[in-house]
Symmetry: C2
Subunit: 151 residues, 2 copies
DNA sequence: GCTCTTTATATCGTGCACGATCTTTTCGCT
DNA sequence: AGCGAAAAGATCGTGCACGATATAAAGAGC
């Protein structure tokens, strides 16, 4: 048994809470702007991946986003329903579903860039080496994924 | 209109994705250990707050966790249902609900500390000044909350 | 004392995240 | 060819996050 008052200690000393609450805050910052485009935050992140690389399978997209198909499939269906992308079985391998942006889906990149410009401005102003941060967070992610796998 | 291929650029250059995926990875690292205690990740974080300060109102707890009552109330009801805490209306002001840990709820702190010891060990080993990180993330959170409010 | 407003919490509907399970297609092996 | 295993997605149930709305108690102003 550990000492009842020992570390982990207070909420503010917890890395998990720091990331949890920072993520929620960022999510909240994006939400109103994205909602004007009819997008949710995970949908936007998914589109970021597709704008970067189109015509991918659900599995590939999941690897990129660290999501399973049980999360991705319904999300992609919603994006398909509003006409941002298409989901079609690959005739070469009928197990696979290929995801492709429509014209409208591609056009959304510009709209999103405009709608989020105020956030990006903010980021660059405060911009204490964003790239360093991003890399550090990516390293943390890999560590955590490694630890999760080991379980 | 922004250039279609301009910044924000790739997924990996996005702070939002870095935090989003890091948070998900940490969540995934905690999940199996917490599930042995019958807890979810947000429930654990809520308990962290309560172990630090007990006998608080739902609103106070929400401020601490950056959550609204629409999220907190069902979560607290679940923790109450398994006997970790009690929710009672304050007789002085019947609008207010006070949240109090039970004996079992307090005892859970030690169990959690044990169940998560491997994670805490990991954190201290990798431990490049956790506190610096945590503070930086808290600053980011405040910035984001500020920006979200301004919307 | 009686409305009007504010405050504290609860409820509801939608979407995300994920473990568990299922279906279909492909592959490996003999 | 035939069959068992593996792979790719889909489906379902639970819980979280949150906007919108509802309810009920407390306070304010007259």
């Amino acid at each position: 048994m550990s000492a009842p008052t020992g570390r982990p200690g207070t909420l503010d000393q917890q890395l998990c809470f720091a990331i949890y609450s920072a993520n929620a805050a960022i999510h909240r910052m994006y939400r109103p702007h994205l909602s004007k485009l009819g997008l949710t935050y995970p949908q936007y992140i998914t589109l970021l991946a597709l704008w970067e690389r189109d015509d991918v399978t659900v599995g590939e997209l999941g690897k990129r986003l660290f999501l399973e198909t049980n999360t991705l499939t319904p999300l992609l269906k919603r994006l398909e329903a509003v006409g941002h992308l298409t989901r079609t079985r690959d005739p070469r391998d009928e197990r696979v579903v290929r995801v492709r942006l429509t014209q409208g889906g591609r056009a959304l990149q510009g709209e999103a860039s405009d709608a989020l410009s105020c956030i990006h401005t903010l980021a660059e102003e405060a911009g204490t080496d964003l790239d360093v941060w991003i890399e550090a967070l990516a390293a943390l992610r890999e560590q955590a994924l490694e630890a999760a796998k080991a379980t």
